[in-house]
Symmetry: C2
């Protein structure tokens, strides 16, 4: 049985996304998803706690991808350099061949307020995990939280752009552009930025 588990899980994810995109998240039932994947509903619930989790089940790996990027970063980097390296490392979770899938998932999520809330909480949890990983590396507060949440901001803005219609650049390329945009925005006070003295 264990041998077939990964295949079943991926198949459930794929058919669920197809059904959500075709007919809407609300009206789709877990029984339908299970039937379309050729398994029983009971098997569905061995893989996912509820209907929503089929869209969010990869959260642990997603978060670990970033945290491992922090652990693996060279020690010379400052807090922001460390999270930037983590973002680059985690971008391998979103290769260009997954973009079409990610676009469909995003269209399902933005159509449903409860799913948007779940996605928002996932990003907040990512920020907490990155801050904790930075503190474990010895970065003090508030530097750790500032860097962690700035990384989540950059990732979120870059990811949305990666999914935009007609966008063909890789996530890593877009992240580099967003980091540059952030640096231009947060200029030193002496440079005449509007940020308060």
């Amino acid at each position: 049985m264990a041998r077939w588990e990964p295949g079943t899980r991926d198949r459930l994810r794929a058919v669920a996304l197809e059904l959500f995109a075709a007919q809407g998240f609300e009206v789709t039932t877990t029984a339908e998803i299970a039937a379309a994947a050729g398994v029983t509903e009971r098997t569905y619930f061995r893989h996912f706690a509820d209907k929503r989790e089929v869209l969010f089940g990869g959260q642990e790996q997603f978060q670990n991808g970033f945290v491992e990027g922090i652990v693996a970063a060279v020690p010379e980097l400052d807090a922001l350099g460390t999270v930037a390296a983590a973002l680059t490392a985690a971008a391998s979770f979103f290769p260009d061949e997954h973009r079409a899938h990610s676009r469909v998932r995003q269209s399902v999520i933005v159509a449903n307020p409860a799913l948007l809330e779940r996605e928002s909480l996932k990003m907040a949890a990512l920020g907490e995990a990155l801050g904790e990983a930075l503190r474990r590396r010895g970065h003090p507060e508030p530097e750790a939280s500032l860097a962690a949440q700035t990384a989540v901001t950059v990732f979120g803005v870059a990811f949305r752009q990666w999914l935009a219609d007609g966008e063909t650049r890789s996530l890593v390329e877009i992240e580099a552009e967003v980091w540059a945009g952030l640096r231009a925005l947060v200029r030193p006070a002496a440079g005449g930025s509007g940020a308060p003295a």
Copy 2:
């Protein structure tokens, strides 16, 4: 009746917070809160949709405080200067005489995962509202989202520090320090920052 509504609402808030802090959020019932405030449970539900909302009922004013700060900012400011001005304006919602109350509210929230999620969503909604207000002022994407979410990061870090044991500085003073910390973190690439090229 209308004359007494604001008083009732504030009294329900105050006694609810007292009960949550003394005996825990979970075990406290809306009937208890109503009784302690000297009103019927039906009156409670005229003011708050559920038990949780008594802690979050001020969200609209909270968010409007920031958005109005953006609308009122002088037009010469760049996107980050505009949100920084909004943070300063909204800090008037948290005068030092409210700090004790805010500390109790925070202790209730961090003790309960569902309340923490609700607070997290409130901050995400604030980021969306600030981004929308910046776009209405003509700031393009991704600048508007970057500035809006950076403002939420700075507010969140500063607010947590404002609530810390022994902290006596005003929220505006702490925000200025956090902005400076952010500027130090996000140095221009030429300055040797670890942020990626």
